[in-house]
C-alpha cells in the first residue's frame, strides 16, 4: 500500500516535471521566433521597448516593400531571387537524393575493394572548413565557366550534404533484409530494377530526411552564394536578407519580413516530412 502511494506521488511529480521541461523548452524555442513575427508585421522601422512578442498593430507594409523590390533596370528583383533560391535548392535536392541513395546502397550491399577507406574518405570531406575551400572552389568554378551560374552552386551544395546523407541512408539500407532482394534476383530482376522498385520505396523515410537535409543546406547557405554569385540578380534570398541589416543599413522591419518569407518554404517542408524524421534515422548508421 505504502509503496503504491509513493509510486503515485512519483508519477505526479514526474508529470509536472515533464510538462515544465516541455513548456520551458517551447518558450525558449518560440520566443525569438515570435519576435521576428512581431517585427515583420509591425508598422514603422522602430520598435518600442517591450518584452511581449505580441504585435501592437498589424501591417503588411514590410512585406510589400520586400516583395516589391525591383532592380536598377526596373525588373522584379525579388521574384528573380526567389526563383534562384527555389531552382538551386530544388536541383540540389534532386541531385543529392540520386547521388546519396546510389552511393549508400553500394556501401550497404556491395563488397568492393577500398569500401571501408572510401567511407572514411567521405567522413573526411565533412571536415573541410568552408573558408578553406572557398578560394580553390572559386578558381575551379571560374575555370569551368560556372561562376555566377546555378549549376556551380548546385554542384557545391549537393556535395556538402552528401557525406551525412550517405551515412544515414546506409544505416537505413542495412536494416532492410537482403532476402527480398535475393528472391527478386532469382526472378531475374536486374540490379537497377531491384534498387528502383524494391529498395527505394522501402527506404522512403530515410529519403525524406535526405531531401530535407539537401534542401535545407542549399536554401540556407549564404556565404558561398555571396562569393560565387557576382550580381544582385543571381543572389539567393539569404544573401539578400543579410544585406538588410549590415554595415550600411539597419532595416529590421524588412529583414524580419524577409526572414519570414525565407523561412516559410523550409518550415513547410519540415512539417510535411516531420513524421518521417525520427523513423528515418537509425542507429545502424554508426555501425559502419
Amino acid at each position: 500500500m505504502v509503496k503504491r502511494a509513493g509510486g503515485n506521488h512519483a508519477t505526479t511529480a514526474k508529470r509536472v516535471a515533464t510538462h515544465a521541461v516541455l513548456v520551458g523548452g517551447s518558450i525558449v524555442a518560440l520566443y525569438p521566433v515570435l519576435w521576428v513575427l512581431k517585427m515583420a508585421f509591425s508598422e514603422g522601422r522602430t520598435f518600442a521597448a517591450s518584452a511581449s512578442p505580441i504585435p501592437d498593430s498589424l501591417s503588411l507594409g514590410h512585406f510589400v516593400r520586400v516583395v516589391g523590390t525591383t532592380g536598377s533596370d526596373g525588373s522584379w528583383l525579388f521574384g528573380r531571387q526567389l526563383m534562384n533560391s527555389f531552382l538551386v535548392s530544388g536541383a540540389t535536392t534532386v541531385v543529392g537524393i540520386i547521388i546519396a541513395t546510389t552511393a549508400a546502397y553500394a556501401f550497404s550491399r556491395f563488397r568492393f575493394a577500398g569500401r571501408e577507406s572510401t567511407l572514411a574518405a567521405f567522413l573526411v570531406t565533412q571536415m573541410f572548413p568552408g573558408t578553406m575551400v572557398m578560394i580553390p572552389l572559386y578558381v575551379l568554378l571560374d575555370r569551368l565557366l560556372l561562376l555566377d551560374t546555378w549549376t556551380g552552386l548546385v554542384l557545391v551544395y549537393s556535395s556538402s550534404a552528401l557525406p551525412f546523407c550517405v551515412f544515414m541512408l546506409k544505416g537505413y539500407f542495412d536494416t532492410i533484409p537482403t532476402e527480398i532482394e535475393e528472391a527478386a534476383r532469382l526472378d531475374g530482376a536486374s540490379q537497377l530494377r531491384i534498387f528502383w522498385s524494391l529498395i527505394l520505396p522501402l527506404a522512403r523515410p530515410a529519403i525524406a530526411i535526405t531531401a530535407l537535409f539537401s534542401f535545407m543546406t542549399a536554401w540556407n547557405e549564404f556565404i558561398l552564394a555571396a562569393t560565387f554569385m557576382g550580381k544582385d540578380a543571381s543572389y539567393t534570398l539569404p544573401v539578400v536578407l543579410r544585406s538588410y541589416v549590415g554595415e550600411r543599413s539597419a532595416d529590421w522591419g524588412a529583414f524580419a519580413a524577409g526572414a519570414v518569407l525565407v523561412s516559410v518554404p523550409v518550415m513547410s517542408l519540415f512539417l510535411f516530412l516531420e513524421k518521417h524524421l525520427v523513423g528515418g534515422l537509425t542507429q545502424g548508421a554508426v555501425k559502419g
Binding site: V33, F47, M127, V139, S159, L192, M216, S263, V286
Partner: protein, 286 residues
C-alpha cells in the same frame, strides 16, 4: 555475368565519388599548394616558401587566441548541446499526446536559416534596444564585451542546434526494446539505475556520432560568429574560421590564410580520429 555485375556496382558509387573528388580533393590539393607559398597579389608577391607559413602559426598571437576561442566554443557548446539534447529527448520520448506539435516546436530553431537566427539573436543581444536587456532591466553590453560576446555566440549555437541532437537521440531511443526496461525494473533498478545501465549504454554509439558531427561543425564554426559578432570586439570572439576568412578575403593573404584554414581541417581530422577510437572501444551490447 560477374563482369556485368561489377560494372553495375561501379556505376552505383561513381557519381558520388566523381562529385566529391571534384569538389573536395581538388580544393584540398590547391589549398596545400597555396599554404606553401607567400602569395600577396596586391604587392605582386608570389613565391614558394616551404613550411615557413606553418612556423609562423606558432608565433602568431592572433592565431593562438583564435585557437583558444575555437576550443572554448567547441567544448562548451557541444557539451551543452549533448546534455540538453539527451534531457529533452528523454522527456519528449515520454510524451504521448500532441507529440507531433511538440516536436515541431522543439525542432523549430533548427529549421530556421542561420542568417535569420544569427541576426535575430544579434538584435536580441543589442545593448540599446535588445529585448534581453529589457527583460533583465539593466544594460549589459553583450556583444561589446569580451567575456559575454563569445558566450552569446555559444548561446545562439546551443539554441539552434540542440534540436538536431534531440532528433538523433530520439531515433536511438526508439530502438531500445520496451522489454529491456521492464526487465531492469523487475530487477529493482530505480530511475537513475535504468538510465545508467540501460538507456545510456544503448544510446552511446549514437551519442558519439552526434558528438562527431557537432564537433566538426563547432570546430569549423563560421557563419554564427561571423554574423553575430564579426569576430569582435577587438578579435575576442574570432574563431579559426573567421580568422582564416579575414586573412583570405580582407587582407588577401592567400598563402598564410590557406595555412590557417588548413589547420582547422587538421584539427577536425585529429578530433574525429579520437572519437572513432572511443567508438571502437564501446561495448556493442545491442
Amino acid at each position: 555475368m560477374i563482369a556485368v555485375r561489377r560494372r553495375t556496382q561501379v556505376a552505383f558509387v561513381a557519381p558520388a565519388l566523381i562529385l566529391l573528388s571534384g569538389v573536395t580533393v581538388y580544393p584540398l590539393l590547391h589549398v596545400v599548394w597555396l599554404s606553401l607559398r607567400r602569395r600577396l597579389l596586391i604587392f605582386d608577391i608570389d613565391r614558394f616558401v616551404g613550411l615557413s607559413n606553418y612556423r609562423r602559426l606558432l608565433g602568431d598571437d592572433r592565431f593562438l587566441s583564435a585557437l583558444a576561442n575555437t576550443a572554448y566554443f567547441c567544448g562548451v557548446s557541444v557539451a551543452l548541446e549533448l546534455v540538453l539534447g539527451v534531457s529533452v529527448a528523454l522527456v519528449l520520448n515520454r510524451v504521448r499526446r500532441a507529440r507531433g506539435v511538440v516536436m515541431a516546436i522543439v525542432l523549430l530553431p533548427w529549421a530556421i536559416p542561420t542568417v535569420v537566427s544569427a541576426k535575430m539573436w544579434a538584435w536580441m543581444f543589442s545593448a540599446d534596444y535588445g529585448v534581453l536587456n529589457y527583460l533583465l532591466g539593466r544594460p549589459v553590453n553583450w556583444l561589446g564585451s569580451p567575456f559575454w560576446a563569445l558566450n552569446a555566440a555559444i548561446l545562439m549555437d546551443v539554441w539552434k542546434t540542440t534540436p538536431f541532437v534531440v532528433l538523433l537521440v530520439m531515433a536511438a531511443l526508439k530502438e531500445i526494446p520496451e522489454d529491456l526496461y521492464r526487465a531492469v525494473r523487475v530487477d529493482g533498478a530505480g530511475r537513475i539505475g535504468t538510465f545508467w545501465y540501460v538507456t545510456l549504454p544503448l544510446v552511446a554509439p549514437m551519442l558519439v556520432i552526434v558528438a562527431v558531427f557537432r564537433t566538426l561543425d563547432a570546430v569549423r564554426v563560421f557563419d554564427a560568429v561571423f554574423v553575430l559578432t564579426g569576430g569582435g570586439p577587438a578579435g575576442t570572439t574570432e574563431t579559426l574560421s573567421v580568422y582564416a576568412y579575414e586573412l583570405l578575403f580582407q587582407t588577401l593573404q592567400f598563402g598564410y590564410g590557406s595555412t590557417v584554414a588548413l589547420s582547422v581541417f587538421l584539427i577536425a581530422l585529429l578530433l574525429t580520429g579520437g572519437y572513432l577510437l572511443v567508438l571502437r572501444r564501446l561495448p556493442s551490447r545491442l
